[in-house]
Every structure is written in structure tokens, then in C-alpha cells.
């Protein structure tokens, strides 16, 4: 007997009292979204030549890889029989949308790994020649034991990075569109079943990716006490404003269209929104975490503000939009399971604390990519030497050359 008491209202099918997909399945599309969003930001420079984003382009690319490496972890932790996880790669069922995971994930991983490698190759070579012993061998191996760096190799590397970015953008869109399709294609669930779902997931992925980069850029700049690069944050803030408007508009249109149609589905969904998701959807996702960033970023884009105020508006908007997208994932994944397919009742879900799929593990899973990113940052330069953060790194190396031999 399941020992957790769940308060249900109305009539819930007996097998639906306990939700199947937990906070881990909330985290999976959230982390995947950061991957796709960060990659698109890096491509705005590498592919579309948005020069003002040069200081953050490589950081965005490496962030994308780091998040990508950990994206499957919540899925793995969720599986009832994780020892069979590779069955999805080895024997995918052609009729299943989920079976595409292996193909989509591996394709994207290969592209991002290659792009990161070509972007960092020159640094690997430099580290291979400046480090000795085992560390030196590691970097020589990372450089594939070819330590040639000249104008010809640089031009080639840049060209390949650009080509990979060109391939990567549609694959990134496909990756996150696919995650949305996993939900949107479930006809049994009216809260999920909409063709808009994949495009909403894609746009919210871009929003969360830009937001996390803004958050990290501010955080790192403040931590290292370097002036904020206004060109970077203003460009990202404008993109963030634009993408969040389209994203939130689509989220609203999806619900409003069902509401206006007044179908049988709406009778059940209305109660779901009004009662079960009132705080997480209406208050948090829409009013607090969408409306406030919309106003803040709008004010920042339309008026000339003092740098301090502008930074406050952009940073707080980035944080709120990270919360908005997380709330959106929660409201979709958990919200969709709170309503029974009897359409006559609702169950409840409270995540555990210490369980395998509980909040502590979720927090650890979400934190680890950031720690890995810090580790990479301590090894190879993620910001160009002519940027504020790049100059900080050079100055630090002069003080303690043994601490960092990157440049």
C-alpha cells in the first residue's frame, strides 16, 4: 500500500491518485531549455554576427554543453528501471515520440561537442604547451596531439564553428520542439494536447537560456568586481524582452482559445486553473514572473535609464523569467497530472524531500552543471581577453601565475 495520503477532490480514477511524473520530469525540460537557449545566444554571434554578444558567445556555448551533459540525468533518476535506460537508444520503437530522444540528443551532443572543441582548440594547444606532466598530456590529448596554431588553422576553426552553429540552430530548435511534442502529442490529456505545445516549449527554452546567461553574466561580473559590459546585457535584455513577449502571448493564446471554445475539456480545465494551479500558474507564472519582467524589460528598452537602475531591472527580470519558465514546466508537467482523465476530479502532488525524485536530489542535479561550468571556467578562458571579465582573468594570472596557466 502506498503510505502517502493524498487529498483528492471529486472523482479521480483509482490509478491516478498518485502522479507518475514528478519534479524530475519538471527539471528535464527545464535543463534542456537552458541548453537550447544558451546555444541560440552563442549562435547569434557565431552565425548571425551579432558583434555586441562576442564577450559572452563562448561562455554561452560552453554553458550549453554543460547543461546538455546533465539534461538526461533527471530522466535517468525518474526511470522505474534505470538499468534498462539504454534500451531507448538500442531498440527504439519507431512509433514512439520519446524514442527519438536518443537520436535527437546524440545528434545535438555531437554538434555542440564539436563546436566547443573547435572554439577552444587554440586554448587547448596553449595549455598543452604551458602545462607539464599529466595535465600537459591531458591538454595534448584534448588537442588531439596536433599543436599547430597559425592563421590558417584559426581561419579553419572559425569557419567550422560557424558551419556547426548553422547546423546546430535548427537541431537546437528541434531538440526543444521535440520535448514539447512529447507533451503536446498526448491526446488523452487536454491540458497537454495542443500543437502549440512544441512552439511554446521552444520559445520558453530561448527565454530561459537568455535569462540564465544574463544571470550568470551579472553574477560573475559582480563576484569578480568588474564593470558590467552594458553592450552585452542590453543586447540580451532586448532579445529577452522580444522572446518573452512571443512566449507569454502564445501561452495565453493557448488557454484563451480553449476557454473561448467552451468545450467539455474547458469545464475541467477551468477548475484546474482556478483551484489547483491558481498560485503556480495565475499568480506566479503569469502575474509575477511574466508581467513584471515584461514591464521592467519594456522600460529598459524604451527609456534611457541610469546604468544602475537598468542593471537592476534586467537582472531582476532575468531571475523572474527563470522562475517563470520553471513555473511553466511545473504547471504543464504536474498540472497535467493533477486533473484525472475522468475529468471529474483532481489529485494533489507534494514533492518529497529526500526521495530519489525529491527536492534535495533535484537541487543537486540542477546545481552540478553550474559547478562544472565553474570548473571549466577555471581551466580555459571563457571570456575574450579584451572583455572586462577576460581582463580580470589576465590580471589574476599575473598575480598568481601558478593558479591558472590558461593565457
Amino acid at each position: 500500500m502506498l503510505d502517502t495520503f493524498v487529498a483528492v477532490s471529486g472523482y479521480v480514477f483509482p490509478n491516478e491518485i498518485h502522479v507518475t511524473w514528478t519534479v524530475m520530469i519538471v527539471l528535464y525540460p527545464y535543463i534542456t531549455g537552458l541548453v537550447a537557449g544558451a546555444f541560440i545566444v552563442s549562435s547569434l554571434f557565431h552565425l548571425f554576427g551579432r558583434e555586441s554578444l562576442r564577450p559572452i558567445a563562448r561562455f554561452a556555448l560552453v554553458s550549453s554543453l554543460v547543461f546538455l551533459l546533465f539534461a538526461p540525468l533527471p530522466l535517468l533518476l525518474h526511470l522505474g528501471t534505470p538499468s534498462r535506460a539504454f534500451n531507448i537508444m538500442i531498440t527504439p520503437s519507431s512509433s514512439s515520440a520519446m524514442a527519438g530522444f536518443g537520436i535527437v540528443y546524440l545528434t545535438y551532443l555531437i554538434i555542440v561537442v564539436l563546436e566547443v572543441w573547435f572554439a577552444l582548440r587554440e586554448d587547448f594547444v596553449r595549455l598543452a604547451t604551458t602545462r607539464t606532466g599529466f595535465k600537459g598530456w591531458i591538454f595534448r590529448a584534448l588537442a588531439l596531439f596536433d599543436l599547430t596554431v597559425d592563421d590558417r588553422t584559426r581561419a579553419f576553426d572559425h569557419k567550422v564553428v560557424k558551419i556547426l552553429a548553422g547546423i546546430g540552430v535548427p537541431v537546437a530548435c528541434f531538440l526543444h520542439g521535440y520535448v514539447g511534442f512529447l507533451f503536446g502529442s498526448i491526446k488523452a490529456n487536454p491540458w497537454w494536447s495542443t500543437p502549440l505545445m512544441f512552439i511554446i516549449f521552444l520559445l520558453s527554452a530561448i527565454v530561459s537560456g537568455i535569462a540564465v546567461l544574463l544571470f550568470l553574466f551579472y553574477f560573475v561580473s559582480w563576484l569578480r568586481r568588474v564593470p558590467i559590459d552594458r553592450g552585452v546585457v542590453q543586447t540580451l535584455a532586448k532579445f529577452l524582452w522580444g522572446f518573452m513577449i512571443i512566449d507569454v502571448a502564445l501561452e495565453l493564446m493557448e488557454v484563451l482559445s480553449i476557454a473561448y471554445e467552451q468545450t467539455q475539456d474547458w469545464e475541467a480545465l477551468e477548475i484546474l486553473i482556478r483551484d489547483k494551479l491558481f498560485y503556480t500558474y495565475v499568480i506566479l507564472q503569469l502575474l509575477v514572473a511574466s508581467l513584471i519582467p515584461f514591464l521592467f524589460l519594456g522600460a529598459n528598452a524604451l527609456f534611457t535609464l541610469k546604468a544602475k537602475l537598468s542593471n537592476f531591472l534586467i537582472f531582476s527580470s532575468a531571475v523572474l523569467l527563470l522562475v517563470q519558465v520553471l513555473a511553466m514546466r511545473w504547471n504543464v508537467v504536474i498540472g497535467g497530472q493533477l486533473m484525472s482523465k475522468s475529468f471529474r476530479g483532481y489529485t494533489e502532488y507534494t514533492p518529497g524531500i529526500w526521495d530519489r525524485e525529491g527536492l534535495i536530489v533535484a537541487a543537486v542535479v540542477f546545481t552540478v552543471p553550474f559547478l562544472l561550468l565553474r570548473l571549466v571556467d577555471g581551466t580555459v578562458p571563457l571570456f575574450p581577453p579584451d572583455s572586462a571579465l577576460g581582463r580580470w582573468r589576465l590580471a589574476r594570472m599575473k598575480k598568481t601565475p601558478s593558479a591558472d596557466g590558461a593565457q
Partner: protein, 250 residues
């Protein structure tokens, strides 16, 4: 008796041999095993019929299913719902513990307000176009040649996608970590026995039959009586048919 002339004598030794042989055969082969070995899946196509005018909500089917299939506590391969229509059009639905112990008490409304009431047994619909089979990423959910939707527990990864895809709430995650659902007691069907829930029903509200057999009573019933399926608009084409179905039943 051999030919009716002289009584055939049976030695104690040969009698004991025969007894041990029979006992050994019973240990090695369960009753019905011989029939199961001659069962050809392609020769059958199973369907299920529930006559809602007969069900009395006793819950014997739920108990039989639990006992037959060792269904874990808190989950159900079959359950029974009670629909109570009030005089103002309001519809109350309940299924206390899946009706494992039947319906011990009346709905919490004055009897004079009840316009009509009936019970609805639920099982897996063994859909012809099963969404659960479609979404399974590893093919662990599949439909057999004889029309039964099953889960290969030795291959299921426990992702739960099939549970989300089933519009009828018939699947659940077994605590062992794999998806679980009604098998239509295929192990019994292949031995010529009815599913446990059908065998246990005291009023004959449940029946399972072979649509490929023109003389099967279930097939005859479906050919001659009005019937419906749950959520037909989803295009799943269930093979669980209901006689006397009300539109409020989902």
C-alpha cells in the same frame, strides 16, 4: 472394467505407479496446460463486454483480479465505479478503494433526490489503436495477435509515458518499477478459462469472447444489441464494449 466379462484385476504395484504418474504430471503441468499448448493466437481475437444493466457493484471482480494477478495494494487492473444522478442533473461518481469491498454505504445524498444510479466496471480497453503501445519508447507495450495489449515486464524501462497516454487511467507504475495493466487474464484464456473477473461475476455482467468465432455468445451479443465504447472521439477503438452505456460515463 475392460470388456464387461471378467473384472480386470489391478495390482497394488501398478495402481501405485499410476497414482505417482498422475501426481507427477499434475506437478509438471497445471490443469489446462495441454489446451494452452494447442492455443494458436492468430485464431482468436478477444473482446470484452460489460452489461451495465446487470452489475450490482459487489466488487467480486476486483477481488478476483487482485487475487489472480497479485495486483499491488493501491492499484487496480479493474475497478467498479458508481454513478449517481441527482434530480437537479448533478452527477456523483465514486469508487471507494476501487470497489475492492463493494459499496458499503449509499451516496451521501437523500434517497429521494436520486434520479438514477448504476455501476460501471472498468478494465483496460485493449484498444485496437492503443496510445500506450504507440508511445512506448522501447516497444515493451505491444498488442498480441489475439488482440490483447500487454507489457513486457522484462523490457519495460519504467518511463511512465504509457500511463500518461492511456485515456482511461488503466495503467499504473508497479512498485517493482515497470508499467502494469490488465492482461485480460491471457494465461487463463489460452487454457480455455474465462478471465478471473468474468468468472467471479455473480450476475454475468462481464463477458469475454472471441470475435473470430461466429458462434461466440459475446460476438452474437455485439451483433444484436446496441453498445458503446468509452471516449470514442479519441480514435482508440476500444475492444471493451458496454451495453446500456450512459453518455456521462467517461
Amino acid at each position: 472394467m475392460s470388456d464387461g466379462k471378467t473384472p480386470e484385476t489391478v495390482s497394488r504395484r501398478s495402481f501405485l505407479h499410476a497414482c505417482f504418474g498422475a501426481a507427477g504430471a499434475m506437478v509438471l503441468f497445471e490443469p489446462g496446460e495441454a489446451l494452452a499448448s494447442t492455443y494458436v493466437p492468430g485464431d482468436h481475437y478477444w473482446a470484452y463486454v460489460v452489461d451495465l444493466t446487470k452489475c450490482i457493484g459487489c466488487g467480486a471482480c476486483v477481488r478476483a483480479c487482485k487475487a489472480e494477478n497479485a495486483v499491488p495494494d493501491g492499484f487496480f487492473r479493474t475497478w467498479v465505479e458508481r454513478y449517481t444522478f441527482l434530480d437537479d442533473g448533478e452527477v456523483l461518481v465514486d469508487s471507494p478503494d476501487g470497489a475492492l469491498n463493494g459499496f458499503a454505504s449509499d451516496p451521501d445524498v437523500p434517497p429521494e433526490r436520486v434520479a438514477k444510479s448504476f455501476f460501471v466496471p472498468k478494465i483496460c480497453n485493449h484498444c485496437t489503436s492503443s496510445p500506450c503501445v504507440q508511445v512506448c519508447p522501447v516497444g515493451a507495450s505491444y498488442e498480441t495477435k489475439d488482440g490483447v495489449v500487454l507489457v513486457d515486464k522484462s523490457y519495460c524501462i519504467g518511463c511512465g509515458y504509457c500511463i500518461q497516454a492511456c485515456p482511461y487511467g488503466c495503467r499504473f507504475m508497479n512498485p517493482v518499477g515497470t508499467a502494469d495493466k490488465c492482461t485480460l487474464c491471457l494465461h487463463r484464456l489460452t487454457r480455455g478459462q474465462a478471465p478471473a473477473c468474468v468468472a467471479a461475476c455473480p450476475v454475468g455482467a462481464r463477458a469475454c469472447g472471441d470475435l473470430k468465432d461466429p458462434n461466440d455468445p459475446v460476438r452474437r451479443e455485439l451483433e444484436t444489441r446496441r453498445h458503446g465504447v468509452l471516449k470514442p472521439e479519441l480514435g482508440t477503438h476500444p475492444k471493451c464494449y458496454y451495453l446500456g452505456l450512459d453518455q456521462e460515463v467517461l
